[in-house]
């Protein structure tokens, strides 16, 4: 990994077209046609399940069980959505998901950026060891330590609470890594100058360092939101009563138990995928460069 900032502006859309099969202007060869056919087919395969889900969310149970299945719904009414939110407690699960996602992301941003600042801009004993330790834990995913982490959370009495969902995974190694790489590019002189002016260490961090790091913070925030919103295994283990269910846990549990009609499950599935897709469409550039540069989801 280079020490350059990881969130450099992307050149991939403006760079020279260096495609090795680029053809002359105006000529359409068989290769071009074949390429477009494969691309369009692949895009259909990628998108059809999602379109099918969205169409299904407007269908009544009768339409859903119809053979062969109808393509378009009879009406575009929002009955399924309204029913799921009023007749069942999906409002609560949605709220839990929102709270966990926002609180966890804010917590991650705060503690990761502080740690990254210490690792990037101070000389102190144990710095390299702590950085390496942080990086090494990328190899210890939650799946591997599920039981011992649960033991710790249980001993803090955080099982079946939203805190138990928010806190344990907040100290992400990848966030520290991304932010540290970015902070390395901040000139020391800037921080020194503030010190000479008598600013305290925390004030320098808050007023000078954080504003400069806005692009890197955005990447960490977006990745954190996408991951937390869709997270399943840990909430499945910790959220044990319906009042703490997040949306994915509710969807999975109720589908397995068949306690909620399938048309409502489909509607709530759409609710669970929409925010992330909208976020992606708005921040496409940050997300794609963030992933391309770090290889980290």
């Amino acid at each position: 990994m280079s020490t350059a900032p990881t969130v450099a502006p992307s050149s991939q859309d403006t760079g020279p077209k260096h495609t090795w099969t680029s053809t002359g202007k105006g000529k359409v060869t068989a290769t071009d046609a074949l390429r477009v056919v494969i691309l369009v087919t692949s895009a259909l395969v990628a998108l059809i399940p999602i379109v099918w889900l969205v169409l299904g969310s407007f269908k009544t149970p009768t339409e859903l069980s119809q053979r062969p299945p109808s393509l378009l719904p009879d009406s575009w009414g929002l009955t399924n959505y309204a029913d799921a939110l009023t007749r069942f407690d999906f409002g609560t699960y949605l709220m839990n998901s929102v709270i966990v996602t926002i609180a966890a992301t804010l917590l991650t941003l705060m503690i990761n950026s502080m740690a990254a600042y210490a690792l990037a801009k101070y000389n102190f004993r144990g710095r390299n060891a702590l950085f390496l330790l942080t990086l090494a834990t990328i190899m210890i995913p939650l799946q591997v330590i599920l039981i011992p982490v649960y033991q710790v959370v249980a001993s803090f009495g955080m099982v079946d609470t939203l805190w138990g969902l928010i806190i344990p995974a907040a100290a992400t190694p990848t966030g520290v890594f991304i932010l540290r790489q970015y902070m390395l590019s901040i000139p020391d002189e800037l921080i020194e100058a503030a010190r000479v002016d008598g600013a305290g260490e925390f004030k320098i961090f808050l007023r000078i360092v954080l504003p400069i790091c806005r692009p890197a913070l955005a990447v960490v925030a977006i990745l954190s939101i996408m991951w937390r919103w869709n997270d399943f295994l840990w909430p499945l283990v910790v959220a044990q009563s319906e009042s703490t269910y997040t949306l994915p846990v509710a969807l999975a549990r109720f589908t397995a138990q068949e306690t909620v009609p399938f048309n409502l499950i489909i509607a709530m599935s759409v609710v669970s995928i929409l925010p992330v897709i909208i976020l992606f469409l708005f921040f496409q550039k940050q997300i794609t460069t963030g992933i391309a540069n770090t290889g980290i989801k």
Partner: protein, 303 residues
């Protein structure tokens, strides 16, 4: 030029207390959470795997008993085999399709960002929903896929009912969900290749295929290595979308190691020791494979 010696003098002086304490205070919250919820559990995981418990509160010493127990268990070996088959085919599929899509998107001028976004969108979907929607589309009687195939006269295929077909479905859906992510990494790798290399090769009369084999593939190797490492780790961790796609069935045909850990740890009858021992073995596998991949990658680069 006078500044330099002054600066050196400043550095030699012992920094004020605030400056010496500050980094530790900045690190404290992150490292505290990290130590409590990652490092200590990682160490304790080995410890727990030496005990057995059926409720998570009272533990009985087992020594290596748990390991002997699960390694002598045919069911556990079935799960190991499922996981390895899943991981290997998932990695291969991800790399082949990932490279194909990245190359095609890279060459495409019109609508390039549309295709890139379209391939990436499945990555964003909640895995629980991915499992749900594919389970629905792969239904034998009234699923979208069988209905579509039926119009060509294909008889109803028992996608999620037949053991082998179910495992194939799980692998393909896994690749469907993740390949856009790998494509992005490979695309970035492709775009860092010097375009003049292709021009030179073109002048020398190299065919497109030979350009792909002799320029693209070797120079893409660092990105491919990243994808191999990440997809292997993802492959061994697969759980969430399978939970709603097949639930591990039919009769355990698509049960992978993480589901084994989850069920033994949290679904009654609880067998903590077995779950903990399984976790330790999973960690060893991920660790060995990650290191192995890097060593092989380094060697190839050196040649």
């Amino acid at each position: 030029m006078i500044e330099a010696p002054i600066k050196q003098a400043q550095r030699r002086r012992k920094p004020p207390l605030s400056l010496r304490v500050a980094p530790y205070l900045f690190l404290l919250p992150n490292m505290a959470i990290f130590a409590l919820f990652t490092i200590w559990p990682a160490i304790n995981g080995f410890n727990i795997s030496l005990y057995s418990s059926s409720n998570g509160r009272t533990f009985r010493w087992e020594g290596t008993g748990n390991y002997q127990q699960i390694l002598g268990d045919g069911e556990f070996w079935g799960i190991v085999i499922n996981t390895v088959v899943y991981a290997v085919t998932f990695v291969l599929l991800s790399i082949v399709i990932g490279i194909m899509l990245a190359v095609l998107v890279d060459q495409q001028r019109r609508g390039r960002s549309f295709f890139r976004a379209a391939f990436f969108i499945p990555v964003l979907i909640s895995p629980v929903v991915v499992g749900l929607v594919w389970n629905w589309m792969l239904e034998r009687k009234n699923g979208l896929l069988n209905t579509f195939l039926g119009t060509f006269g294909v008889p109803e295929i028992p996608w999620l009912i037949d053991n082998t077909l179910a495992l194939i479905a799980v692998i393909v859906v896994g690749a469907w969900m993740q390949v856009g992510f790998y494509m992005l990494i490979l695309l970035a790798g492709l775009q860092s290749i010097d375009p003049t290399l292709y021009e030179a090769a073109g002048i020398d009369g190299a065919s497109r295929w030979s350009q792909f084999r002799n320029i693209t593939l070797p120079l893409l190797q660092p990105s491919v290595l990243v994808v191999v490492v990440l997809s292997t780790i993802h492959g061994f961790q697969a759980f969430d979308y399978i939970y709603t796609l097949t639930g591990g069935g039919p009769v355990g045909a698509t049960t992978l190691i993480v589901q084994y850990i989850y069920e033994n740890g949290f679904v009654s009858p609880i067998r903590y020791g077995d779950a903990a021992a399984g976790s330790v073995l999973l960690f060893c596998a991920i660790f060995a494979i990650t290191i192995g991949n890097y060593v092989i990658g380094r060697k190839r680069e050196a040649v």
